[in-house]
C-alpha cells in the first residue's frame, strides 16, 4: 500500500515544478503549459484522497477540474493569439508597458 503522504509530496512536487515553469519561462505558451501542470497536481491529490476516504467526490471533482483546465487553456490561447497580433511575439517581458 502506498502511504497517502507520498501522494501529497508528489502533488506538491508537481505543483512546484509548474510554478517554477511560470516564474522562469518568457514564452506565454509555456505559461499555459505550466498552469496546466499545476492544475494536474491538484487532480492527483483529489484522486488519491478519494481512494483514501472511500468516496467518489474527489474523483468526480477531478473530472471537473480537468474540464476547466481545458477551458482555461482555450481562453489562454485566445489571449496569446491577440498578444501576438499586437506585440509581434509572445514574449511576456515585452508586455510591460504599464507599470508603477
Amino acid at each position: 500500500m502506498v502511504p497517502p503522504e507520498y501522494y501529497l509530496v508528489l502533488s506538491a512536487a508537481i505543483f512546484c515544478i509548474g510554478l517554477f515553469g511560470i516564474l522562469t519561462r518568457r514564452n506565454a505558451l509555456y505559461f499555459l503549459m505550466s498552469a496546466e501542470l499545476m492544475l494536474n497536481a491538484a487532480v492527483i491529490n483529489l484522486v488519491a484522497f478519494s481512494f483514501q476516504w472511500g468516496n467518489l467526490t474527489g474523483q468526480t471533482f477531478a473530472l471537473f477540474v480537468i474540464a476547466l483546465a481545458a477551458a482555461e487553456v482555450a481562453v489562454g490561447i485566445g489571449i496569446v493569439l491577440v498578444l501576438y497580433r499586437n506585440f509581434g511575439d509572445v514574449d511576456v517581458l515585452n508586455a510591460a508597458t504599464m507599470r508603477w
Binding site: 500500500m1 502511504p3 497517502p4 503522504e5 501529497l8 509530496v9 506538491a12 512536487a13 505543483f15 512546484c16 515544478i17 510554478l19 517554477f20 516564474l23 522562469t24 519561462r25 518568457r26 514564452n27 509555456y30 481512494f51 483514501q52 476516504w53 472511500g54 468516496n55 467518489l56 467526490t57 474523483q59 468526480t60 471533482f61 473530472l63 471537473f64 474540464a67 476547466l68 477551458a71 482555461e72 482555450a74 481562453v75 490561447i77 485566445g78 489571449i79 493569439l81 491577440v82 499586437n86 509572445v90 514574449d91 517581458l93 508597458t97 504599464m98 507599470r99 508603477w100
Partner: protein
C-alpha cells in the same frame, strides 16, 4: 525563446524550493495521521457510480456528494469559455476593428500598431 536571465532564475528557484519545502514538511508531518485507506468495494463499477454522482441519482453504493449543480454550471462555463476564445481568436476580415477608443495603455493611432513610448521613469510625483 530564451528564459529569463540568470539572476531571476536563481530567485525563482529559491522561492519554489522554499514552497516545496513547506508543502513537503506539511505532508510528512501528517504522515501517520492518516487512517488506513477505506478503498472501494471490489465488485462495484466506479464508472457507474461516477455517472450516478454526476446526475445526483442516489443509486450508487459508494458514498458521494451530488454534482448535478456543478454539472449544470460547467456546461455554461465551457460555453462561455468557448465564446471568449472564439471572440479573441476571430480576425475581423475587413481590416482591424477601428479602435473604439483611446483606451487601455496609451493613445493608439487608428489602424496600425503605434510604437508606445514607455512611460517616463519618474512620473511627476
Amino acid at each position: 525563446m530564451t528564459d529569463t536571465d540568470g539572476s531571476d532564475r536563481a530567485s525563482a528557484a529559491l522561492a519554489v524550493t522554499a514552497l516545496f519545502a513547506v508543502l513537503a514538511t506539511m505532508a510528512l508531518g501528517a504522515a501517520e495521521a492518516f487512517p488506513d485507506p477505506t478503498g472501494f468495494p471490489a465488485d462495484v463499477s466506479i464508472v457507474h457510480n461516477i455517472g450516478y454522482a454526476l446526475f445526483d441519482i442516489g443509486l450508487g453504493e459508494i458514498p458521494v456528494e451530488g454534482f448535478l449543480a456543478a454539472f449544470l454550471i460547467i456546461a455554461l462555463a465551457l460555453d462561455v469559455a468557448l465564446d471568449a476564445a472564439i471572440y479573441l481568436a476571430k480576425r475581423e476580415d475587413e481590416g482591424s476593428i477601428v479602435s473604439a477608443l483611446t483606451d487601455g495603455g496609451r493613445e493608439v493611432v487608428a489602424g496600425d500598431v503605434a510604437e508606445r513610448e514607455p512611460t517616463d521613469e519618474g512620473g511627476d510625483r
